[in-house]
Symmetry: C2
Subunit: 492 residues, 2 copies
C-alpha cells in the first residue's frame, strides 16, 4: 500500500472503477439491455407479479463489503428488470402515466454523468432549464415575462403555484408571521373532481382543507360556475377572504376540462388568484384541433404542467408557471451568506432556480426535456395527443356498439370509463363482476386499465396517454374483457 | 400512408425511433462520451464560463418540427457538455455537493428506461425503495420499525420531518383546520447555523419564521444547550407551545455537529419533537472512528439524510426518516377512489409511497442508491468519509503552518474556512483581496472553493466531500492561492 509520505492518507481508493474498461463494457451491456427492453415491450405481458422468492431477496441487510458493479448489475437483471409496473407497455392505461422514450432514458444517463446541481451557479444547465421553461410558457400561451420552475411533477407544480397564491393573498407577511396571523380565513375553490394533490398542498401550506371549497360539477364533470359564484359571494358576506380558484384542465377521473375562460372572468372580477391544474391537459393546445378546449388557460396566474404524462418524458418532470415573476421569487427566495451570489466565477449568474421553489439542490431534469423536444418537435406531440383523443373516441364507439359493454363516463379528452354489463345483473353484482374482471385482466398481462367509481358505480378506466397504443390494442383489450366477463358471469 | 381501415387513425407514428439500430448506436456513443467525461475529469479545468455565442443558442423558440435525436445529441455535445458546474472534478469543493459516479449514472439510464411510477402499485421497485430506506435506517441507528421515504434531497427530507412534527404537536387536526386553528403559536428551535431550508420549510408550512427561534452557538458553532433551555422555558412561561428542536449533524458553514444527545435528553424531558438535519453528517456513523460525533442521532423523531452529498449518488437523492410510522402516514395520506388499493393485480400491495410525502408520481431514484450501495459496500463509504475528514485536517495543518494563510474556522468534519492573509492588510482590504482571489481561482479552472462569512469576515470555504480528491489536490490549490494572493497584493 502506497501511502502519502507526508501524513499517511491513502488516496488511491475512490468510487470510480479500478478498471474503466470493465465499467465501460458494463455500461454498453446496460444500453443493449435497455434498448432490448423497449424495442420488445409489445411482446411481453403488461404486468406480472413479483414471485415470493424474488421479493424475499429485498430483505437483506446493508451490504458492508463491495459486491462490485458486475454482480450488482446481474442482480438487477435477475430481480428488478422483469417485475415492472408496466407503464412502458402499449396496453398500460392505468391512472395517468407517460410511457417514456429511449432517448429520454439516454438523456438521464447524460444528466447524471455531468451531475450538475441545478440550484444555481453559472453553468450552461441553467440556460437549458430556462429555455425549457420558456417553451412551456409558449405551450400554454403564457407571456414571455412569466416565471417558472421545473419540478418533480404535477403535485409539486400545483404546490408551487398555490404557495404563491397563499402568500400574495394573505394580507400579512405570511412567511414570517405564519397563517395564524391571517385575520380571516383564506378560501380556495375547486370542483369536487379536483386532484387530491391540491388538497394535500392546501394542508401542507397550513391553510386547512376545510377552506378548500368543493364546488359541484355538471353532468360532464365540469365545475358549476354559478355555484362557484354563489359560494364566493357567501364567503365574502360571511367575512371570509376568497383567495383562489383552481381550474381543472383535465380531471383525473374523466378528463373533464372546466370552463377556464369563465373562471378567468370571475377571478378578474373578484380579484382572485386563478390557478390551473393542467397536469393532464395543459399541453392539449399543442393540437390545434383541440386547443379550444383549454381556452382561457393563458389567463391564469399560475399553471401546473406535467411533462412525464402526455409529454412522455421519463419520471420525474413537471413545470410550475407563475405569471408574476416577483411574486414567485418572493414566495421562496432566501439567500444566506454561504449562497450569496458573486459577480464572476462559478457562483455568478442571474439564474438561481433555488430561489423559486422548495429545493436547494436540484437535478438536471431539464436535459431530458430539452433533448426530447428537439428530437420530436412539438408538432409531433400535438399529433400524438390528437391521436390519443381519437383512440378514446374509437374505444367509446366500440363500447357503445356492444350490448355487453356500458359507457360510464367520458370527458372531451382521452379517458374512457366503462364496465362489462351483459344485462340482468344487479348493481352490486356488477361492481363485484367488474372488479374481478379488472384483476383478471391485470393477471393475464393482456391489458392494464385502472378503475374508479362514477356515481358510486365501479368502472374500468382507460386513460389513453400512451404513445405506443394502436387501434389493435383497443380490440385486444375489448375482446379479452368480453371473453373474461362472460366467463365470470357464467361461473357465478 | 396506411390508415386503420375502421376509422382512419394512423397509428404508425410514436415517440419510439423509426430505426432502433440508429438509436442503439447513438446510445452506445453516449456511453463512450459519458465514460470519457468521467475518466478524464482530472485533466480538465474545474470550471469555465459559457461563451456568449453559446449562451445565445438557448434563446431559440419552441422547436415545432423534429430535429431528430442525432442532431439534438450533436447540440448537446457542442453546447452543453463543455460548460458544466464542475462538481465532478477532484478540486471542486464549493457549497456541499457530491461528485457522482459512473455506475450511478448508468443506474439512471436503467431507471428511466423501466420508468416505473414509484407512487404505488405492485411492482418490484417498491421493494427496492423499501430496502434502501431500511439501509438508511441502519446507517443512522434508527429502529427497523421506523418509517421513511426517498425524496429529492436534504431540503425535502427536512420538509417531510418538519411537516410531521407540526401535525403531531398542533393539538388540533391541522390538516383540515389549518394553522389558524392552533390556539397558541408552535415554536421551533435551531441554532443560528441551521440551514436555510429549515426556515423555508417553516414558512411553507404556514408556521411563520418568527416562530423559528435562533439559538446562539458556542465558539465551535454548536448550539448553546443552556440558551436553548432558557428559550424553551421562556416560551412556555409566555403561554406559547414549544414543539420541536432541530439539531444540526454538520452545519453548512463549518460542519459543526450539535450535541445531539443533549438535545435528545431535553426533548425527552420537555416532550418536544427532535428533528435532525443530517444532510451533511447523518452518514458519518459509517466511519467507526467518527461515529461518536453523531451520538444521539439514533434517538431523533425524524432525520433528514442526504444521499447526493457524501454518498455521491447522482442528483437527486435524499431520505426522510420518521420514527413513528403512523404519524408519518397520517401527515400525508389521501386515498381518493381513483387511487384505492386493490387486493390483487398491479394496484395491490401494501407499499404506496405516495402516502408518505408530497409527491404522487415518483421516479425510481431508489435504483441508483441500491446499485451503488451494492457496488461499493458501506465500509468503503465509511473509509472515504474518514479520508475526507483527514484531508480537511491535512489542509488545516498546511494553513496553520503557512504565515500567509489564516485558518478561519473548522468543525469536526470536512469543511475548512481560510483566507489569504499576508499580514499588514486591514480587514476591509482582506475581504476584497480574498473575494478577488476566489474569483481568480474559479476563472483559472485550478480549484473551486466557495465562500462564506464567519464573524463578518470573508473566507474561502473548502468542503471536502469529493471522493476524487487526493492530497496532491490540496497542494495544487494552496500553491495557486499563495501565488495568486501575492500577485494580487503586490498589484494593489
Amino acid at each position: 500500500m502506497t501511502l502519502n509520505p507526508s501524513n499517511g492518507i491513502d488516496t488511491r481508493e475512490s468510487l470510480d472503477p479500478d478498471d474503466w474498461g470493465a465499467m465501460r463494457a458494463l455500461a454498453h451491456r446496460a444500453v443493449d439491455d435497455a434498448m432490448d427492453y423497449l424495442e420488445q415491450v409489445r411482446e411481453r405481458p403488461v404486468w406480472r407479479p413479483t414471485p415470493e422468492h424474488v421479493a424475499a431477496q429485498f430483505a437483506r441487510p446493508l451490504p458492508k463489503e463491495p459486491e462490485g458493479a458486475e454482480r450488482a448489475y446481474a442482480q438487477f437483471r435477475e430481480l428488478v428488470l422483469p417485475y415492472q409496473l408496466g407503464n412502458t407497455h402499449p396496453r398500460f392505461w392505468s391512472w395517468y402515466m407517460g410511457a417514456g422514450t429511449p432517448f429520454g432514458a439516454v438523456a438521464d444517463l447524460l444528466a447524471s454523468t455531468l451531475n450538475p446541481n441545478m440550484g444555481g451557479g453559472n453553468h450552461v444547465g441553467n440556460l437549458v432549464e430556462r429555455q425549457v421553461i420558456d417553451w412551456c410558457k409558449e405551450i400554454v400561451g403564457f407571456p414571455a415575462t412569466g416565471s417558472g420552475l421545473l419540478v418533480s411533477g404535477g403535485s409539486m407544480a400545483n404546490f408551487v403555484g398555490l404557495t404563491v397564491a397563499r402568500n400574495v393573498h394573505a394580507g400579512v407577511d405570511v412567511r414570517t408571521k405564519g397563517v395564524g396571523a391571517i385575520a380571516k380565513p383564506l378560501v380556495f375553490y375547486a370542483s369536487t373532481e379536483v386532484h387530491s394533490c391540491v388538497q394535500r398542498s392546501i394542508e401542507v401550506l397550513g391553510l386547512g382543507s376545510d377552506w378548500l371549497r368543493q364546488v359541484p360539477v355538471d353532468s360532464n364533470y365540469r365545475i358549476d360556475i354559478s355555484a362557484l359564484k354563489v359560494m364566493v359571494a357567501q364567503d365574502r358576506a360571511a367575512g371570509r377572504v376568497p383567495a383562489c380558484v383552481i381550474g381543472n384542465a383535465g380531471t383525473i377521473n374523466t378528463g373533464a376540462i372546466d370552463d377556464l375562460a369563465a373562471i378567468a372572468d370571475l377571478c378578474a372580477q373578484e380579484k382572485l388568484w386563478f390557478h390551473v391544474d393542467g397536469a393532464i391537459g395543459a399541453v392539449v393546445g399543442l393540437s390545434a384541433e383541440h386547443a379550444p378546449l383549454v381556452h382561457g388557460i393563458e389567463r391564469a396566474d399560475s399553471v401546473a404542467v406535467d411533462l412525464h404524462k402526455w409529454m412522455q418524458i421519463p419520471f420525474e418532470a413537471g413545470c410550475a408557471l407563475v405569471r408574476d415573476r416577483g411574486a414567485h421569487y418572493r414566495a421562496f427566495t432566501l439567500t444566506p451568506d454561504y449562497l450569496e451570489h458573486q459577480s464572476r466565477g462559478l457562483a455568478s449568474g442571474d439564474l438561481w432556480f433555488s430561489d423559486y421553489g422548495p429545493q436547494l439542490s436540484r437535478g438536471f431534469r431539464a436535459l431530458k426535456v430539452w433533448l426530447s423536444f428537439k428530437e420530436h418537435g412539438l408538432a409531433r406531440y400535438g399529433r400524438l395527443i390528437a391521436r390519443n383523443i381519437a383512440l378514446a373516441e374509437e374505444l367509446a364507439r366500440i363500447v357503445r356498439g356492444n350490448p355487453h359493454l356500458e359507457l360510464m363516463g367520458m370527458g372531451n379528452l382521452n379517458i374512457v370509463c366503462l364496465r362489462f354489463n351483459p344485462g340482468g345483473v344487479d348493481e352490486k353484482a356488477l361492481d363485484a363482476l367488474n372488479e374481478e374482471l379488472l384483476l383478471r385482466l391485470h393477471e393475464s398481462g393482456i391489458a392494464a386499465p385502472s378503475y374508479t367509481k362514477l356515481n358510486g358505480k365501479y368502472c374500468l378506466r382507460v386513460a389513453l396517454v400512451n404513445h405506443r397504443t394502436k387501434s389493435e390494442d383497443l380490440r385486444v383489450f375489448v375482446d379479452a374483457a368480453l371473453r373474461m366477463g362472460n366467463d365470470l358471469r357464467n361461473s357465478r
